[in-house]
Symmetry: C2
Subunit: 442 residues, 2 copies
């Protein structure tokens, strides 16, 4: 049973790579965020690698860290995802295109229409990563002095989802007759006026785009809190998880999949893809050296800030070139603190190396040869810790090209990953059913 499962792979492009040193890596595109020619090449390479989806995370603000760190970060700017992905749709054929859009700072009518349009433009390859934005700097760009509190954001998010999917169901799939002879463009009996009146939104409808190719674009979420997990269990078809260890992955997988039966959903209709930072080398040593090189490009003060948060104390006075000193007890999250200490001991890292590791990327990492990385992915898949991964590349284009050129063929050899796309739509890549229209079930 488990042996028949296959991996699903998303490419996490936020806006290009997540590692804060990546733009300085030798051969990297430092302007990748801004340069459509680069992004087009990367998307086409991912499609050549048969990835399920190109995923673009997002930020609605810039001022989210101290200026000394900010001015060294390549993530400060990025294209609007819902503007970039239609352009990528026009230069790709099969790869899914998942855009992040906030339910806190948008109107449901716009979001329903933009994703429906993207789904048509791409021939059924759109996905919507629903975020209930929690960035207070974003609020300041939308006229809100105080950020909306967590529970309220989730209630608004849930109603937003109901309105958007209701608008997508405005038209039966056969509503548009386009009968030139009779002069009848659509059948009014196959049109539903939503007329939503809820706590947060009043939206009459109908949507002025036909029902999307996929019925609904694929629904994606990344919330890890209790409210986030429950919203995901109720509504999501893909979860981007952030589970740093196999045991964490298994716990999360069990928890979320376990919620589905009570909701009348089949476990295979929600795919869980943990983020995995990959560094590929011809030998284990080469991969580790690449990562060390990457980490060495992280701004030291940002690393120390990350280390201080993990340890729950000010680490700025530590000797950068010495080992991590004994750490007194603190109020910090025990797991983050223990992981940092264990990491330093296991790899014999100096304070500087540990700080730069945490400031670069501190989550699940797969660093090694293609066979090692494929083996680790297989272990997670067969250990029921995931249905695939949202892959974060070490640097661009090199890290992405290494993964597509070396790890993907290894996964294919092991029968873990498709050799070609079997369907046309993102839903088909992911093995997800096309949702019925709630107003026109027939």
């Amino acid at each position: 049973m488990a042996a028949q499962r296959h991996l699903h792979l998303g490419a996490f492009m936020r806006p290009t790579t997540i590692h804060t040193g990546a733009w300085r890596y030798p051969g990297a595109f430092p302007d990748a965020n801004f340069n459509f020619a680069h992004l087009k090449r990367l998307a086409q390479t991912l499609e050549h690698g048969r990835f399920d989806a190109f995923f673009m995370a997002d930020h609605l603000a810039l001022l989210n860290m101290p200026m000394e760190a900010l001015k060294r970060s390549h993530t400060v700017t990025s294209f609007d995802p819902l503007t970039l992905l239609p352009a990528l749709a026009a230069v790709t054929e099969r790869i899914g295109l998942i855009a992040t859009a906030s339910t806190t700072f948008n109107e449901p009518y716009h979001i329903a229409r933009k994703f429906a349009s993207l789904d048509y433009l791409s021939g059924g390859r759109a996905g919507w990563n629903i975020v209930t934005t929690s960035n207070p700097d974003a609020a300041l760009n939308f006229g809100l002095e105080e950020h909306v509190e967590h529970g309220e954001r989730y209630r608004r998010g849930r109603e937003f989802f109901d309105v958007v999917t209701g608008l997508w169901d405005s038209w039966a799939d056969d509503a548009f007759l386009r009968d030139q002879e009779q002069g009848l463009f659509f059948d009014p009996a196959r049109l539903h006026v939503l007329d939503h009146r809820g706590e947060h939104f009043k939206v009459r409808g109908p949507l002025n785009v036909a029902r999307p190719v996929q019925g609904w674009p694929v629904i994606v979420q990344a919330g890890a809190s209790e409210a986030g997990r429950q919203l995901a269990a109720e509504t999501a078809e893909v979860i981007f998880a952030a589970t740093p260890t196999l045991a964490d992955g298994q716990r999360f997988y069990r928890d979320v999949k376990g919620r589905l039966a009570a909701l009348g959903r089949a476990p295979e209709h929600l795919k869980i893809l943990p983020g995995a930072f990959v560094v590929v080398g011809e030998t284990p040593e080469e991969a580790r050296a690449k990562r060390a090189k990457l980490d060495s490009l992280v701004y030291y003060e940002s690393g120390i800030a990350a280390l201080s948060i993990a340890l729950g104390l000010d680490a700025s006075g530590f000797d950068p070139d010495g080992p991590l000193p004994e750490i007194p007890p603190s109020n910090a999250s025990q797991s983050g603190r223990e992981r940092a200490i264990a990491l330093a001991r296991r790899e014999g890292l100096t304070v500087r190396q540990l700080a730069q590791r945490l400031g670069g990327y501190a989550g699940l990492a797969m660093v090694g040869t293609p066979a090692m990385i494929a083996g680790q992915m297989e272990e997670w898949l067969h250990g029921e810790a995931c249905d695939g991964f949202n892959v974060m590349f070490s640097h661009l284009p090199g890290g992405l090209e290494d993964f597509v050129g070396q790890v993907v063929p290894e996964l294919q050899r092991r029968g873990l990953f498709r050799r070609d796309y079997e369907g046309l739509t993102l839903r088909e890549h992911l093995g997800l059913p096309r949702p019925a229209n709630r107003f026109f079930p027939g």
Copy 2:
């Protein structure tokens, strides 16, 4: 002096053609609104014809006419313009891409970011058609039971413009250093935090996209009211006018251009492009027959409704196949009424023909051979009634292909239109200067 002027041509794609019978014309694409392959082909043909811009108007609602008319209309649905145009940017090289976006139902931060993103994706070909949406059906899709009144919409529109352009000026053109060696991504001294606090908006900024390729995307407007003209004179670089006769065109041109000196603007920095519906034939008779065929495809009741509005009385009792009866006085706009009566007398139209003409397209039309249309365009240009036209095609793809294949070469032969693009950006096509950055004038 006047002889050296050249026409600028926009293609009015709303969502495809404006004529309500167009989708039924023999050979028309009845699904053009929805079919990216068609839209790509049309945009590429326009680029081959050296058009300045592909312009997409918009509606934020569907229910804006009685269902009996609505169900016969191909304009009920269309892609979101800011989702379609990035896709067209990826499959074209030079043609400008102008999207309509409402200042009434959007947030300035989103609009600034989306147009800045489109400007990068297209290499400097973006334009923003600013509309202060007046459609009450749209308001119902955005939680507003009552529509915002005219003056208030314009005040909001003006402040929206100030915020968006302020966000576009967040970064000096040289702010991004991307110095991989030093690890410095941008220079904080070349970043401006807008911190706008006005009557309608509070927006901190900065924008998380670099200053657009064109400085600002080209600013377009279409308002014809006093408030609309003044807003356009203050802010617009292109006006899409709706002036049905040469005399109307001259009056509008004189009025708007006359407002510029007091605002410190040069007349050539605001281009006025009246909408012109074109029907091309090999002979005048063939062109007129094409138009008659098109008009005959208009739903009769819609035509009668349009005729009743023009005349200021209920025309539904008239004999469809008889001539227009004597019309008693009414409160209708005198000019619309007189134009309808004069049109019926001049062309000897029956009530049905007159109604279908008005229900199809009632504004400025150029119906004839390529030489006749080119001559009429030349007359408007040299008569200082325009700087070019926003061309509306009779049907698609035929009407567009006829114009590009036959009228454009005639305009080129007369020295009225470019034979090739001379610049790369929409601003360069239009001969508009790149705006200085208000915060970094150097």
